[in-house]
């Protein structure tokens, strides 16, 4: 800590020594919360992508229409749909797939051939579609073929969207609270660390040290403590996340996305210790400057 004569080694009493550990703990918590939120948003993103990016077109057979004529109509609609900007891909679901879907209700050996079954087209929508674009698709279909109907999975979509929104509110609230607590604790421990040095501040002041010189000594100290604490917390969090990833890969549930963060998310996490150190630095400066301001 002593780099040249202008540095003043600050005290190492037990309560001051604890400071980086408290900061480490809070950083760890904040990192875990943030990682949790990022993973949650990945998970929800996957679910909603699975559901909300899709729609189904049901093509009803007309009276007395042959299977071939129906197939023809379906193929025409698929080509029409694929030309639309709103649609990423459209796929005619083959009859045997429909039979599979119907198996729970019709039994596996049901004689489908004789049935006037409606045909289905599976649509994957392009990114960023709104209800309005679905409406324009619907109009197009009505014009092209009055017996084709668009089902946008609306009810399900709304349900899921509501859930996603609620969970995201909760996650944001949780992160906000932990962030608030972290900031509060960092400010508190930095301030109480400074309070333990009040005598040093006064003596330096009387000896003729400039305010900015005094503040700098303490800022440097707080920055180092904050950085050390933050890094310890980050390393602990990274370790825990890695362990969780290992543990969860044994869980194999298709509903959970791979339990890991990408580079961008790691960068967001790494910002936390930096923020912690800067808060500590700023708190130290403010505390020292304010206490100097009270002196003549």
């Amino acid at each position: 800590m002593i780099a040249g004569r202008s540095d003043l080694p600050l005290s190492r009493e037990p309560s001051v020594r604890l400071v980086p550990w408290i900061i480490a703990l809070m950083t760890f918590l904040a990192c875990m919360m943030l990682a949790g939120a990022l993973l949650l948003s990945d998970l929800l993103g996957q679910w909603t992508r699975d559901l909300s990016g899709t729609a189904t077109v049901q093509v009803m057979p007309r009276d007395g229409e042959t299977a071939e004529a129906l197939q023809e109509r379906v193929a025409k609609l698929v080509r029409l749909l694929e030309r639309r900007d709103e649609v990423a891909s459209a796929r005619d679901i083959p009859l045997d797939e429909i039979a599979e879907l119907l198996a729970p209700w019709l039994g596996t050996d049901a004689p489908l051939d004789g049935l006037p079954l409606p045909r289905l087209i599976d649509i994957r929508l392009a990114d960023g579609q709104t209800p309005a674009s679905l409406d324009s698709l619907r109009t197009m279909l009505d014009n092209a073929d009055p017996d084709a109907e668009l089902d946008d999975h609306g009810t399900w979509r709304q349900e899921i969207a509501g859930l996603v929104r609620a969970l995201e509110y909760l996650a944001a609230l949780g992160i906000g609270l932990v962030a608030l607590a972290t900031v509060g604790i960092v400010i508190f421990v930095t301030r109480s660390g400074m309070a333990a040095h009040q005598d040093v501040i006064e003596v330096l002041h009387h000896i003729g040290a400039e305010d900015s010189y005094i503040a700098r000594q303490f800022q440097r100290h707080a920055l180092a403590q904050g950085l050390r604490g933050g890094l310890i917390g980050l390393v602990l969090a990274a370790g825990s996340l890695w362990a969780l990833d290992r543990a969860s890969s044994g869980l194999d549930t298709a509903l959970l996305p791979p339990f890991g963060l990408d580079a961008r998310e790691w960068a967001i996490l790494a910002a936390i210790p930096l923020a912690t150190a800067l808060i500590a630095n700023w708190t130290a400066r403010r505390t020292v400057m304010r206490s100097l301001g009270r002196m003549v």
């Binding site: 003043l8 009387h206 000896i207 003729g208 002196m295």
Partner: protein, 254 residues
Amino acid sequence: MSETETFENVVRFENVGMRYGTGPEVLREVTFSLRPGSFHFLTGRSGAGKSSLLKLMYLAHRPSRGLITLFDEDIATIPRERLPFLRRHIGVVFQEFRLINHLSAFDNVALPLRVAGVREGIVRKHVEELLTWTGLADHMDARPPTLSGGQQQRVAIARAIIARPRLLLADEPTGNVDDSMGVRLLYLFEELNRLGTTVVIATHSEALISRFQHPILHLEAGGLAYQARGESAPPPPRGAFGARRPGPAGGAKP
């Protein structure tokens, strides 16, 4: 204020009053002035206001009324940014020492020089010299809580004079040392005084006061009861006492 500049008065008080917070005035109608190179004892019963008067002089407290000048400048009009440089010309021995407990005796004494940006080699030389002179050669690396009362007091004195201030204010600087050490310390102050430093020593010790015949500022019930004449000759030429302070405007030189 430059190294060679001279002042009419180092300190001038005119009808100064002082109170703590909303309490009663502990100093009333105090008027006096100290010429450059003068040496005064400040006396008065316990609680008379000696430490308070010194606080005004080392800028730890503002007067509630009246005029105070330091080096012929009205302290009420000096901008805050210049005060640190003014303070570097004032050495203070606090009654309660105020040493920094987690620094060694050496580092405590070196503090004023380091704050002023003096080179480390020079710092080491002067601090060691002064600590040896005050009988603390064996305790340079000791932290204040492990020193005896008198040893702490000597560290506090060394810190006050190491930067060879223009004004030395010492509050009861011999209360914790034996009489022979007290005399030795007063010789040190006189030596400093001979080099041009204006000295004010608050003390209860009648032995010291009668032995060293310096003028007396006597406080009684918050007022200055009498001020013995303290006219003295202009400062003598300076020798190599303590470390040289950096130049006038006080900017720290590396």
